[in-house]
């Protein structure tokens, strides 16, 4: 009985089944799903403010999340509300935040906020939550220019999360093709290609990143910067992929159906892309998942150093750049929050990659109630 069920499952179904059992991987998958959904599909809707909406005199406002009230002055429960905040300076010129308790600002769902296009095409002012003007509801506090950190994290995720996918897409396309060609032709071609790969891998990647960045003009539009980041990170990333794919191609190349494909007069390019590379796909999926964090971190590092995404545009890396001074972290620690999101994303990708690797590994057996223990 058990054997019958096992036989009828295709490789991908079997892998999915194994993946479902991997708790950490599933947790990672859900976290990533939530993050990507928030940052791509509903970013404008979920972020209460536009990423460049500055609050006058609200620089470094502490997080509102800690100041949500649910009891009014008489101690009765009521709808959650906040007070408007402002600051004064004490004798050391430090900010001292005070709440103006004369008026309550209830937190509204589907409040009117900055204009945006829902799902990219429906013009609307409705955002998930917010408070009435002139108070501001800064869930995670404000940055140095009084902008909502939460909104900036949500908008920044669009760049930080997508750059990983874009970078991986580019470098894996190159890596698969180069590795495929190298392994398929073998001989001198293989030798030259592999030596080039090694040369690229030999250079410490962060210095290479910096050098490549330095070789490009400093003044660029934000879109150009984004693509530049993708290109220079892929330039480093393809080599490792190409090496591993080459190894796999060497083993697939000697399969009879590859020879059969040659015997029916198929072009080398088609044989590589049609008959050989698909066989390396299960490895590629795992490897892609495990290498996305590298791209996210690469973008963050460059942006942190001011070489990547520039203000007013947000990415998790350049949001963190404010946290480079210890003084700032001491007085307003919430500016470290973007780092938490980087951490979460990187961890989730790693767990997911781990789970996928186990799932695609034919040697890892399904051991569970359905299949019985051996």
């Amino acid at each position: 009985m058990a054997e019958e069920t096992q036989q009828s499952l295709s490789l991908s179904r079997l892998a999915l089944k194994k993946l479902r059992k991997h708790r950490l991987a599933m947790a990672g998958l859900y976290v990533l799903g939530l993050l990507y959904l928030t940052c791509f599909v509903f970013s404008d809707f979920i972020a209460p403010y536009h990423f460049d909406n500055e609050g006058r005199d609200l620089n470094h406002m502490p997080p509102s999340i800690a100041r949500i009230r649910i009891f009014d002055a008489e101690g009765n429960t009521c709808r959650p509300f906040i007070y408007r905040m402002s600051y004064e300076r004490d004798e050391y010129y430090r900010q001292v935040w005070v709440e103006d308790k004369t008026e309550r600002y209830p937190i509204r769902l589907f409040a009117k906020g900055d204009e945006h296009r829902l799902l990219g095409f429906i013009p609307t002012r409705v955002r998930l939550f917010g408070v009435d003007q002139p108070a501001r509801f800064y869930l995670f506090g404000a940055d140095v220019r009084g902008r909502d950190l939460f909104s900036r994290i949500v908008y920044g995720g669009r760049i930080s999360l997508s750059i990983g996918l874009a970078g991986v897409a580019v470098s894996f396309t190159i890596g698969m093709l180069v590795g495929g060609v190298s392994g398929y032709y073998g001989g001198p071609v293989d030798n030259v290609v592999q030596r080039i790969c090694e040369m690229v891998m030999m250079i410490p990647s962060f210095f290479l990143l910096l050098a490549l960045r330095a070789s490009l003009p400093m003044e660029m539009g934000s879109v150009q910067i984004y693509f530049m980041l993708v290109v220079i990170m892929s330039f480093i990333g393809w080599a490792g992929m190409a090496r591993v794919v080459r190894g796999m191609v060497l083993s697939v190349r000697s399969q009879e159906y590859v020879e059969a494909a040659r015997a029916i007069g198929q072009s080398d390019f088609k044989i590589i892309t049609h008959h050989i590379l698909p066989q390396t796909l299960s490895y590629a999926i795992v490897s892609i998942t495990l290498s996305i964090p590298g791209y996210i971190l690469g973008e963050s590092s460059l942006s942190l150093l001011g070489l990547g995404i520039q203000d007013p545009y947000a990415s998790w890396g350049n949001l963190l750049s404010e946290a480079m001074a210890v003084v700032h972290i001491q007085s307003h620690p919430w500016i470290l929050l973007p780092g938490v999101f980087i951490f979460l994303t990187v961890m989730s990708f790693n767990f997911l990659g781990d789970g996928l690797r186990d799932a695609f590994d034919p040697k890892s057996q399904l051991v569970g109630k359905e299949f019985g223990k051996i």
């Binding site: 009879e256 159906y257 020879e259 059969a260 015997a263 029916i264 007069g265 066989q279």
Partner: protein
């Protein structure tokens, strides 16, 4: 009349003095050494020999699919339909493969890509060589499957190789090979991996298909029974050479080369009461260390000093019956 016409026409495939070597670390391994072979139009030629005698290297040389490195066609001419294949640029050669010369491999299990449906793979083959719309190609694929007698071809076309039996897969391979109506079909041990009943069915199918066309077939096999049934001519190969070639009937009736004689005697017969089967003593020589003279001399019961020092020439002892043996030619001329 028509028959004599066919005889006068130049053969479809003419191989002369083919040398295919594999350059390995211990010196060159001479898989094919001075092979001459002709495949007439519309005929089936059986290429027979033991494992390791260079049969597959010959068929791969014709397709120019010798894995290189280490393999290389060192010398020789392969003229197909008036064109020297060895001097064709790679792109033109690619157009010959599959369209003009199709090949069927030994292992139907692994010759189909496991990740595509069989219909798709036939379509791929057709669209590779002809500008046909996908739908039309699919219809042709189904037609081909029907032609190779696959039941319910519409459904089978949508299935993956692992869902088909070995015999079915070989039928699919044949369908694929026939897709572009090639002039020459090279079948490299097409039935070795199949059991006997399926073998018979596949060979029947071969005959049936061949009758409708003027396709030539080069049947590479070590199975003498299959050759006797299907081939018009037989070429016996030993250690990289053709040692004897003749029409099927005379070859089986009166083999001239001691090797062919040995092979035929080794076939188990139900009428024989002998306890042990006849064997040719010894083994095929290592292709990188062939003995001097006739390569068969260490195993030959009639070997003389001349056999041990000089390679015998190819002699046409009877019209259409070619032998490469000192003894055989001496015996004949003596008569």
């Amino acid at each position: 009349m028509a028959k004599s016409d066919a005889c006068n026409k130049p053969p479809l495939l003419e191989i002369s003095d083919l040398h295919t070597y594999f350059f390995l670390e211990g010196g060159p391994s001479k898989a094919v050494e001075g092979l001459d072979l002709a495949v007439p139009r519309g005929k089936t030629v059986g290429l027979v020999g033991e494992s390791g005698c260079g049969k597959s290297a010959t068929s791969l040389s014709i397709m120019r699919l010798i894995p290189s490195p280490p393999g290389k066609i060192v010398r020789g001419r392969i003229v197909f339909d008036g064109v020297d294949l060895l001097s064709l640029p790679p792109d033109d050669m690619r157009r010959v493969r599959g369209r003009e010369i199709a090949m069927i491999f030994q292992e139907p299990m692994s010759s189909l890509n496991p990740v595509f449906t069989v219909g798709y793979q036939i379509v791929e083959m057709i669209r590779n060589h002809e500008a046909v719309a996908k739908k039309e190609a699919w219809a042709r694929a189904v037609d081909l499957l029907r032609r190779v007698r696959i039941p319910a071809p519409e459904q089978r076309a949508d299935e993956y190789p692992h869902q088909l039996s070995g015999g079915m897969r070989q039928r699919v391979m044949i369908a694929m090979a026939l897709a572009c109506s090639p002039k020459l079909l090279i079948a490299d041990e097409p039935t070795t991996a199949l059991d006997v009943t399926i073998q018979a069915q596949i060979m029947e199918l071969f005959d049936e298909i061949r009758q409708g066309t003027d396709m030539s077939v080069l049947l590479v096999t070590h199975n003498l029974g299959i050759v006797a049934q299907t081939a018009d001519e037989v070429a016996v190969m030993y250690a990289g050479h053709i040692v004897e070639q003749a029409a099927t009937r005379p070859l089986f009736a009166s083999p001239l080369h001691p090797y062919t004689q040995g092979l035929l005697e080794s076939i188990p017969k139900t009428t024989s009461t002998a306890e042990r089967l006849h064997v040719i003593s010894g083994n095929v020589p290592d292709p990188s260390h062939k003995p001097p003279g006739c390569p068969f001399n260490p195993r030959c019961p009639k070997a003389t000093d001349r056999c041990r020092s000089e390679m015998p020439p190819t002699v046409e002892l009877q019209p259409g019956h070619i032998v490469r043996c000192w003894e055989a030619s001496a015996g004949r001329s003596g008569n």
